[in-house]
Structures are given as structure tokens and as C-alpha cells.
């Protein structure tokens, strides 16, 4: 891994809530232009870690650096697109109004706003529903709109917490195609997931379990290391996803 390609480093990060150690001495780095998957059973600490990377939480110990600068930093956050595990949308507004709002918050110029809104609506296949109130959206539609918002300002780093939950397989496939296109154009993507076939599409994977990073590597590395046939079996060896 070449040092100058590293855009994100998690440096011996621990997080405690009261007496509960949620993250324990996590240490890894991510390179520019890779899709990095975070896997782990429910409660492993994926969301906690991802929120720190988005600048929303501070580690109890250690430091997260993005673009060589410690988080949180407002300057860095301009270059991050974050999509949380829950859809944070304004139900009283239409999809387009939600997008317009976040586009303005990210400082997009008026003309560019309309272009980008069209683009991201097409990516998540919601162009026909742009004028519907979000409160009348289905769960999957909300998820897609939430994803669209995080893509609006063409961030260099995308942090997505379970982005494809509740999205049907066909659309999920097309969304992953978009992720691959974004990666090929230089965007770095961190994605948490429970789904094996998504994990296989990641360039590298980190396995979290009980707040510890138990394994890290490309999918084929992990299969090789555990002398198993598939990723699924590999994870069972590492203690289950």
C-alpha cells in the first residue's frame, strides 16, 4: 500500500460508552479509489466507527485522519458524503425539495444544483417520483433518496451505512454498478453491509466483531487465509458476520 494513496487512517481508535467498550483499538488504512466493506454482526460497532469517520463522534482514544487531517474538520467534511443507517429525510417535503435543500447546504451553485439533482435521481431511479412527498415514499424509495443526497456534491469519500437495505436485487445491482463507476473515477467508498454478495464486490473488507477488527484484506485473501471455498465460510471461521 503506497503511503501517498492513503486517504483515511484509523489510528488505534477505541470508543467507550460508559463502561461498555464498543470499539477496541481499531487500526487500519484505506487507499484512494477503493471500495472498502465493513462487515460484522449486529452490534459489532460498525455504525459507531462509521459515524466517527463522518465527523459525528469522537473516539475515546486514538485518532481518525482523513486526507491526512484529523477528524472532525469542516473542510474535510465538504469532501465526504454520508448516508446514515436510518433515512434522515424531511417527510413534509418532496424528494426534489429534500435534494435542493442538501445541495444548497453543500454549497452547490444554483445552475449546477439542478443538473446534479437530475443526475442523482437518475442513478437511484427516482426521476419519476421527484415531486412526491417523501412521507408517501416506500421504505426502499426513502433509502434510495437518502443515497442520492449523499452523492449530490460529488464527494471524494463516500461513507454509506447499510445503503442497500430494503432495495430490490435488480436495483441493488445497478446501484453497485454506480459504486464501481464512482470508484473508477477516483471516489473512495466505505460501506457497511450484512450481505455476502455485496461483500464479494468490495475491493477490501474489514471484519468487525465485538468492537475488534478481526480480519482485513481482499475477499480472495480472506478465503485463502482461512483455506475455505467461499467468503461466507471464511467469515464463519473468523467468528461470523
Amino acid at each position: 500500500m503506497s503511503v501517498d494513496r492513503i486517504i483515511l487512517s484509523v489510528d488505534h481508535v477505541s470508543k467507550r460508552y460508559g463502561k461498555h467498550d464498543v470499539l477496541k483499538d481499531i487500526h487500519f488504512e484505506i487507499e484512494r479509489g477503493e471500495i472498502f466493506g465493513l462487515l460484522g454482526p449486529s452490534g459489532a460497532g460498525k455504525t459507531t466507527l462509521v459515524k466517527q469517520l463522518a465527523g459525528l463522534e469522537l473516539p475515546s482514544e486514538g485518532e481518525n485522519r482523513i486526507f491526512q487531517k484529523p477528524m472532525p474538520s469542516l473542510k474535510t467534511m465538504e469532501q465526504i458524503g454520508y448516508m446514515g443507517q436510518s433515512d434522515a429525510l424531511y417527510g413534509e417535503l418532496t424528494a426534489k425539495e429534500n435534494l435542493e435543500f442538501f445541495a444548497a447546504i453543500y454549497g452547490l451553485k444554483r445552475k449546477q444544483r439542478q443538473i446534479r439533482i437530475k443526475d442523482v435521481l437518475a442513478i437511484v431511479n427516482l426521476a419519476d417520483h421527484e415531486n412526491k412527498l417523501v412521507s408517501s415514499y416506500s421504505g426502499g424509495m426513502k433509502r434510495r433518496l437518502s443515497l442520492a443526497i449523499s452523492l449530490l456534491h460529488k464527494p471524494q469519500l463516500l461513507i454509506l451505512d447499510e445503503p442497500t437495505v430494503g432495495i430490490d436485487p435488480v436495483l441493488r445491482k445497478s446501484i453497485w454498478k454506480t459504486f464501481e463507476q464512482l470508484r473508477d473515477s477516483g471516489t473512495t467508498i466505505i460501506v457497511t453491509t450484512h450481505v455476502m454478495d455485496e461483500a464479494e464486490k468490495c475491493d477490501r473488507l474489514g471484519l468487525l466483531r465485538d468492537g475488534r477488527l478481526t480480519a482485513i484484506g481482499t475477499p480472495s485473501d480472506l478465503i485463502e487465509e482461512t483455506r475455505t471455498e467461499s467468503l461466507e465460510e471464511a467469515f464463519l471461521v473468523y467468528g461470523g458476520a
Binding site: L56, L58, A104
Partner: protein, 343 residues
């Protein structure tokens, strides 16, 4: 630009929520209308000053249930009247009896007038004196009713109450639906969030107050001595205080119901100290609370403008204090947001 985007979004949300918008405008109108018809005077022992009234005449007058204070000098009576230690004074000018009323409290007005009328009748129907008595008012006038007196106060209260609740609930929702977190994952500054809220709700409040004030003053005919612009100015600062306080307290509530729990704790006690009830009847050990409540200043300023027709010099202190409250709450809000993002 982020601030204006946020304000625009808030206005859009309010407009979409037709029911809430209706509540904000029509509920105050409804309640003020009801009060307008409900209020009537009650019993009160007025204090009347007698300025160099001949003793024979005073004995003839025989005023009942009235506290009489004697003055040798018109100026001392005037001074006592303007700081409200007496409600009216009787004096003789050019051989005519004249009554000068303080006038800002309609209950007091009507009681004083009634006592005087009774007294003149008991004098044995001395028609000439009765007809010749001249009545003057320091503030207000004989057309001032009880509603006119508490109206300004209720106007202030409604602005405060509804803005507090709506701003608080809407910020609470921002937190519980996760949109606050999403907002904080963008490069928006915490101060921009607070000011976005202030401006968004500020604009709505101007419209809301404008409609309510126009209605109460021109449709219900509430007594209005001063300038309409001052009423709007006071209402705006009242709303600003309410909204920043609402947002601040919403961080101590986990749901809408808990937000409602602030009404009996924060809102209702303010009414007691805002002058709806006579402040002199509040025991000393409690009276220090009044000056700590924003509504106290809002009601005082509104009364000065609407009843006494005062201008900037009389309300400036109240406005600055309200502005000070708002500023304090804004700073505390920015600090409180640190809980969700450290920078």
C-alpha cells in the same frame, strides 16, 4: 447561503403542515375573540386624591368604599398619579370640579367613575355640579375596557407560547428523525443551524403576529394608542426569545409529549408574572421571579405602546432585555449542539 437554505426549508415545512399553520394563526384569534366577549369589571377600592377641595364639599360628597388622600398642591397629586399611588384626583379649576384619572386600568377607571357618580347623586341631585364635572385621563380613556388592558399581554403571550412550542417541536423532530445528524455530517456550522432556525421562524412569526395584531386591533377594536410598528417590533423580539428558548429546551426532551411538559413549567408561570394579575399581590419572596421571565418584559412593552401610547424611549429597555435573552439562548444553543458534533 446555508442559512437561507435552512430558513427556506423551515418555511416550506410550516406551509406544508396546514393544520399547524392554522393553529398558529387561528387559535390566538379564536381565544382573543372569546376573551373579548367574556371580560367584565369587578370590585375594587379606588384611591382618589382631593386637591384643595373645601371640607364642606367633601362632607357633602360622602364617597363610599374609597380611599381618600388629601393634597394641598396639584403637582404632588400629579406626581402620585403618574407613579400610580393614586388612581385619580379631584380638583377645582375655574370654579369647575375636575376629575383626572390615571386611566390605564379599565377596571379602576369604571370603579372610580361609578363612585363619583354615586357621590354626586348623594349630594342631592345638584345637577349643575354633576354636569360641569370635567373628566381627564392620563393614559387611555373612558373607552378602555378590561379586554383592552389584558389584550396586549395576551398578544405577547400567544406569540411566545406558539412560537416556543412549534420551534421546539420542529427542532426536536430534526433530532429524533436523524436529520440533525445528517445536517451535522455536512460542513454546516452549528451557528448557521441556529440562525437558519431563527430567521425561518422569524419570518413566519412576523406574518403570524401581523395577522393577529391586525385582527385584534382593527376587527375586535382593541385599544391601540401607540404605533403599530412598535407592536410588531416587540412581537418580533418576543418571538425570537421564545424560539431560541424552545430550541434550547427541546434538547432536554426526547419526544413531543416531553416538550409539552415544559408548558406548565416554563410557560404558565410566566403569565402570572407578566401583569395579568396585579403584581402587588404577589408575595415578596416570589416577586423576584418576574424580572427573570421574558414575558414580563414583552407584556410591559406591549402595554406601554398599546395602552399608554409610549414610544421608543419607554420600550427600548424591554426590547434590549428581550434581545439579551435571545442572544443568551442562541449562544447556549450553539453550545448545546456540541453534544452532537464537537466542531
Amino acid at each position: 447561503m446555508r442559512i437561507s437554505a435552512l430558513s427556506l426549508r423551515i418555511l416550506r415545512q410550516i406551509i406544508r403542515d396546514k393544520r399547524t399553520m392554522a393553529l398558529l394563526i387561528f387559535a390566538p384569534i379564536l381565544v382573543l375573540t372569546l376573551l373579548h366577549f367574556v371580560f367584565n369589571g369587578n370590585d375594587y377600592e379606588p384611591k382618589i386624591g382631593f386637591v384643595s377641595i373645601p371640607e364642606t364639599m367633601e362632607n357633602q360628597l360622602n364617597i363610599k368604599n374609597t380611599h381618600i388622600q388629601h393634597y394641598k398642591n396639584l403637582n404632588t397629586a400629579k406626581a402620585d398619579l403618574s407613579d400610580q399611588s393614586i388612581d385619580a384626583y379631584l380638583f377645582i379649576a375655574n370654579n369647575h370640579l375636575s376629575l383626572f384619572l390615571e386611566g390605564s386600568d379599565p377596571t379602576v377607571n369604571s370603579t372610580v367613575m361609578k363612585r363619583m357618580q354615586d357621590a354626586f347623586q348623594s349630594m342631592g341631585g345638584n345637577e349643575q355640579t354633576n354636569n360641569d364635572i370635567k373628566i381627564h385621563f392620563l393614559h387611555g380613556g373612558s373607552e378602555l375596557g378590561q379586554f383592552d388592558y389584558i389584550g396586549p399581554l395576551l398578544l405577547g403571550f400567544f406569540v411566545f407560547f406558539f412560537v416556543f412550542l412549534i420551534a421546539g417541536v420542529s427542532f426536536l423532530r430534526e433530532r429524533t428523525t436523524g436529520t440533525l445528524e445528517r445536517l451535522l455530517s455536512t460542513p454546516i456550522k452549528k451557528s448557521e443551524i441556529v440562525f437558519g432556525y431563527v430567521i425561518g421562524f422569524g419570518i413566519f412569526t412576523i406574518i403570524q403576529t401581523f395577522i393577529i395584531a391586525i385582527y385584534t386591533i382593527y376587527v375586535l377594536g382593541m385599544y391601540m394608542e401607540g404605533a403599530f410598528g412598535y407592536v410588531m417590533l416587540i412581537a418580533l423580539f418576543t418571538a425570537l426569545t421564545a424560539l431560541t428558548l424552545g430550541i434550547l429546551l427541546s434538547s432536554f426532551a426526547n419526544n413531543e409529549l416531553q416538550m409539552m411538559q415544559f408548558i406548565p413549567i416554563i410557560i404558565v408561570p410566566q403569565i402570572f408574572f407578566s401583569g395579568l394579575f396585579n403584581l402587588e399581590t404577589i408575595p415578596d419572596w416570589l416577586s423576584w421571579i418576574g424580572p427573570l421571565t421574558p414575558l414580563y418584559y414583552a407584556a410591559d412593552a406591549l402595554k406601554s405602546v398599546m395602552v399608554s401610547g409610549m414610544g421608543w424611549s419607554m420600550i427600548s429597555k424591554d426590547i434590549f432585555i428581550l434581545a439579551g435573552f435571545s442572544l443568551l439562548f442562541i449562544l447556549l444553543n450553539i453550545l448545546a449542539l456540541k453534544k452532537y458534533r464537537k466542531i
